[in-house]
């Protein structure tokens, strides 16, 4: 967590302030977490690319004073893949929303994970489509309410951590906007990690999700996040976790941090074998 008085403004694009995010929205807390991680790591902003998709989270690239790309819905990871392969010196961060990561862009997420390309995906999960006014997402819990599930959702939600683990991401973490002290540490680890990193941050949308599901105001929703999650360590080592044990308590923390051949390194090896090295 940033200590009071720490100045993050050098990392933020002042001309785009204030943000479009609603009062009480958790996305600003995540943006602060990212900026704090960038500061702690001393990332050169000339060599940082923030590549986002569409929706509330998609606006995040505008707010970082770096190379910013606001792409099409769900495709940010594909854009980022081309960008990173051509210029591996860039640190590439991809903020993703519920639709970007779990619906329209789900295909790109699993393939980026499978390749293990050195990109950091940060999933801003607020359980709903906010920009379009509160529709159900693949991350909306069963029985939750939205404008397109007025009688409650009949679809189970994706567990983005399980999805990322299964698809082969080599750094996988989950945290919440309530756990703002842990969040920058996990994001720092993700940026440092050489491979595909996924950090899911559970965020609050008081405007739509909170209102439609009677969860109260933003502070109430932060407490709700606290109560529905449990630090991973409390469950013991990962193999002991069963789905039944997790009901009502979503584990948070670092799920995986392991080395596996990184995609661009692999490609460069292939170039060397083909005799195309410069």
């Amino acid at each position: 967590m940033t200590k009071p008085g720490v100045d993050l403004t050098p990392y933020l694009r002042q001309e785009m302030m204030p943000t479009v995010w609603c009062p009480g929205c958790g996305h600003g807390i995540i943006a602060r977490g990212i900026a704090t991680a960038l500061m702690n790591l001393g990332v050169d902003m000339d060599q940082l690319a923030v590549v986002g998709g569409i929706g509330c989270s998609g606006r995040a690239p505008f707010y970082f004073d770096a190379n910013s790309m606001h792409t099409t819905h769900g495709r940010a990871l594909a854009y980022a893949t081309g960008l990173k392969m051509v210029n591996p010196n860039l640190t590439v961060i991809v903020p993703m929303g519920d639709g970007d990561s779990a619906a329209i862009g789900g295909n790109h997420l699993i393939h980026a994970a499978r390749r293990n390309i050195d990109i950091t995906a940060i999933i801003f999960n607020n359980s709903i489509y906010g920009m379009t006014g509160g529709q159900s997402a693949p991350t909306s819990p069963l029985e939750s309410h939205s404008t397109t599930t007025p009688m409650g959702s009949i679809e189970p939600a994706f567990d983005m951590v399980e999805l990322a683990l299964a698809a082969g991401a080599t750094y996988v973490a989950r945290t919440t906007t309530f756990d703002f002290q842990e969040m920058p540490r996990l994001i720092e680890g993700a940026i440092r990690h050489h491979g595909f990193s996924v950090v899911e941050v559970l965020s609050q949308c008081p405007t739509y999700y909170g209102r439609l599901n009677k969860l109260g105001e933003a502070p109430d929703m932060l407490l709700y996040e606290r109560d529905r999650t449990k630090l991973l360590e409390a469950f013991g080592p990962p193999p002991e976790i069963t789905r039944e044990e997790m009901v009502g308590q979503l584990p948070i923390g670092l799920f995986r941090n392991e080395e596996r051949p990184e995609y661009i390194d692999q490609y460069h090896g292939l170039v060397a074998r083909a005799g195309g090295g410069k």
């Binding site: 690239p61 505008f62 790309m69 606001h70 081309g82 960008l83 392969m85 195309g276």
Partner: protein, 377 residues
Amino acid sequence: MRLVQGNEAVALAAVHAGCNFYSGYPITPATEIMEMMARQMPKTGGVFIQMEDEIGSIAAAIGAAWGGAKAMTATSGPGFSLMQENIGYACMTQTPVVVVDSQRGGPSTGLPTLPAQGEVLQARYGTHGDHEVIVLTASSVVEAYRMTVEAFNLSETYRVPAILLLDAVLSHMRENVEFPDVPVRERTKPVIDEKFLPFGPDAPFVPFGSGHHTVVTGMSHDETGLPKALAGQAVQRILKGVGERMRRDAREITFYHEIALDDADIVLLTYGITARAAREAVELLRQDGVKAGLLDVQTLWPFPDWLVKEKTEHAKAILVPELNLGQYVMPVRATLEGRCPVESLGRMDGELFTPEALVEAAKRLASSVEIGGVAHD
């Protein structure tokens, strides 16, 4: 001299043009371009990646362009349809990128191994919103080579996606060719000061990592790249400017061939693979005493209205044969505004026109406009 396939010529031309990024997804009849690039890119130090679909392919190519690459992807109709949203993104963000579409019978899965010219309007109007793009086509292997290099050059010059339309026959046929030495437009490293506007008129393309913290967005934006107030007016100004610069240079960027147009009563206006039969048809028609000529257009878009007007000035009728149900005939008619009959001859059955079919259609057209000397057989 060597025997080269159309798709192979495209890949070789791309390497000649400086292409150093290729992303794609296998699809008939474009796959050989991808297979060639999978071998060529590692050898030349470039990047090749097989993406998870065509949407990812075009997205990765645009991302690679912003990483500093000359990027290309190739596909066929179904994939080209999937790419449209992101081609629009490249237009909006003024990103140079080359998209090859080897046309096959459609709609939908259609006739995967047979030729068509069904994407002539889609290539121009397939995305939502208005914008200008470059669309080139070719009728021979050597032309496919030349037009691929020109697609890269024009894409760089105007900072637009350049689309090269091939078809299943041209992609797969082999011809003996001697590759011409087509000049390549190289990128210059621009000077960036604090007044630099990344989306200003004629602004050079400055990739990420250059020190300028560019904002690239598909939202309407002004010359700074930011989606500020009055962005609608700004983006109208910016994108209209792109079109104006192309029209200013229309004579330089319009590639075409002509045969016997000086005294032609009947003009066959063709493009792509159809031009091959039309060349022979004009010869046969002349032998039969019909004053026929050929205008074979290679720069399909921006539409060369000036060329069509000039070259058909004395024509009594125009025949537009194409492998669709009448697409390119529409701008031809709109340009000539009823000055003479413009007849559409279309087919979408996966077959090419024979010269004889074109001769017959031309004679029928000639007799309908009562051109003297036509044998009514």
